[in-house]
Amino acid sequence: MTSQPTVVLIGNPNTGKTTLFNALTGLSQRTGNFPGVTVEKKVGTLDLGHLRLDLIDLPGTYSLAANSPDEIVATDVLLGQQEGTTPPDLVIVVADASNLERNLYLTTQVLECSLPVILVLNMYDLAVADGLEINTDLLSRELGCQVVPVIANKGEGINELQETIEQCLEKDPSVFHLQLGAPVEDGIHQLLNFFNDCSDQLIAPIHRVEVLRLLIDEGGIVEQRLLEIFGEPLDSHLNQIRQKISEEGTDLLLVEPETRYQKIGEIIKICVNRKQENLDLTVSDRVDRFLTHPLGGTMAFLVLMAVVFQAIYKWAVPLMDLIDGSFGWLGDLVSLLIPEGAIQSLIVDGVIAGVGGVAIFLPQIVILFGFIAVLEDCGYMARAAFLMDRLMSWAGLSGKSFVPMLSSFACAIPGVMATRVIENRRDRFTTILVAPLMSCSARLPVYTIMIAAFIPAKPVLGFFGLQGITLLAMYMIGVVVAIPVAWLFKKTILRGETPPFVMEMPPYKIPDLKTIILRMLDRGKQFLVDAGTIIFATTVLIWGLLYYPRPQSISDQYDQKAAEIQSQTLSQDKREEQLNTNSKAEAGAFLRQSVLGRLGKFIEPVVKPLGWDWKVGIAVIASFPAREVVVATLGIIYNLGSEESEESENLRQKMRNATWDDDLNQKVFTPIVALSVMVFFALCAQCAATLAVIKRETGSWKWPVFTFSYMTILAYCAALITYQIGNLLI
């Protein structure tokens, strides 16, 4: 792509790596995915005045032993094996200065990759406050790399780091090497010889680090990959070597961590001086005593989640209305400028309505990601997972799935995007698959109109109303169904070992404003660009199916009627009213002729067991781009024009009066049919935006197709059961 030198940033999670990345690159960053995997790749430009560098932010990782997709990518990039990424010219390891011992684990692993390395000791001020004295010169000598203390969120040490980067680009690669004892070293040597003998089968010469991972991580990714290339000869060779090592008394599982931590212990002893043993409770610990307290902590958690939920559910509404209003106004304006016809309808009902339908989700996404960024950056997210882990384990998930699931009650789109905090792929995908079952705000219009029109306002158990209880039931149904569904997915298609919940609880800190704002903007942009295109295309497609064909005979017939009305002697109001009714009837007639209208007739036998007639059927199909569209579609279908809202008394009345085509005495809608429609909408995946986001987040069409299929089948069966059993009971 460019000939600019590449610098990569690697480090443990919670070390302020992103803050440092932002401090070094500012607004020049762009986000994407590493090819072939759904691991986020962030690249920025590091401007050193006369020299510009590409800075790649690798996902946070504790080790190069590739357990998760994030760690695989990190290792691949370091060893120059990641597709589409040039081998780095320099590596910056970010370590938390106040938690040096564990951070040096990854650091020493990176130092073995034969690349020039700079170690950044971030949050240096916290280490000083903890009474730690780090001798950076000694540390630099022990590790054989440059060491730079930095306070990234205050911008301190950034200039020094930039100077060091420039110096180190010319430096020799690091030569740090951890001796793992004769048996292991022998084994590595033998394997290196094996690969040398058949190096023609490898794209790049194999590195010692890779051989080490192959030998030590039994059943790991490196082993799987290399066995694919070398097959049986490597397999038997490897087993032989492993057997010999264990016969010589070395435990392959323990040897690396124990030797490494022993070495790190020695380094710490030389370079770090703890001025006083910190016996006082730290501020973080005091906060934790409250925030993870059985009562106080649970209360604080519930209040916080209520605020988050309220924010996406309610506070976003004025902004959403504003966006909705602007697009409505734009549509009206364009209607005035362009003469009536296919082009006007395409632009107004297709393009403008389509773009508007995408943009309307922006406030919710940006607000939710603001909250998530704050909660993550200050360290609370780990506590939320700690509190909720047990509860989520009933569905076979971990505590990390809680926030995405809760967010999905407001809107599944930010919910699905929020699953990125879950490192384990199976957990993440399971969460993505069930998140759309949560009753989002777009279902509310459907519930509202159905309940208002068909559920009697009878009191139940004294002060509860039947209408309110129905609404609550609709919200509950998603949760009740999601638990067994998630459990089932974890047992079948996404089966695998339970991922560990071995999770660091980082110290609380003040969140970095720049990091939060950049994250909000970035997520909003990703949604608009990637999901927006798909949603837009779907909307235009559905528009086309509803608009075409338009036989001339229908418009002639209604034009003639309009002319008749004009010629009659009527008051101004009466005339307007009749003309209006006429044009609505015309819209209805066109709809019946459209591709979708005919399709509705065609599928009537399928939806009849649910108690629906063909009109409800096409309203459901037409609401594929977004559930709330069903209200407008019902409006069109019942000849009311498209300007319907859920408060509309007229639409309610028309729906109440609607009868079956073949039996004019039989009403279409009964309370049971209304329930069947609501249950269908509670469980179906009628939301192109969600499906588009699932495609984006999973990197494949397979998952949105699967989500749509299983949810539609589920929704159909549930609606069928509701209608059939309901009819038996009444």
């Binding site: 039994e218 993870t292 609880m505």
Partner: protein
């Protein structure tokens, strides 16, 4: 004795492991719970699981099922 059997505030030293799940054990080891390491139980989640322990100067949460893989000598 295993780590999950400790109470809040109790300290112990890691002595060995149960090998039934190498994948999880590998992560436990990387996080610093190597033999000879001192651990202290900081707290339990309100629902009793997971637990939070102090190790190598930082806090780590583990499920009880994971803690039961770690053999300890309590002080």
């Amino acid at each position: 004795m295993t780590l999950d059997q400790l109470n809040i505030g109790e300290k112990a030293k890691v002595t060995g492991y149960c090998r039934e799940n190498p994948q999880i054990l590998r992560r436990i080891l990387e996080m610093g719970l190597v033999r000879g390491t001192e651990v202290e139980v900081a707290r339990f989640s309100p629902m009793g699981d997971p637990m939070e322990i102090a190790v190598k100067g930082y806090l780590l949460s583990v499920r009880l099922s994971e803690a039961s893989l770690i053999e300890i000598d309590s002080y």
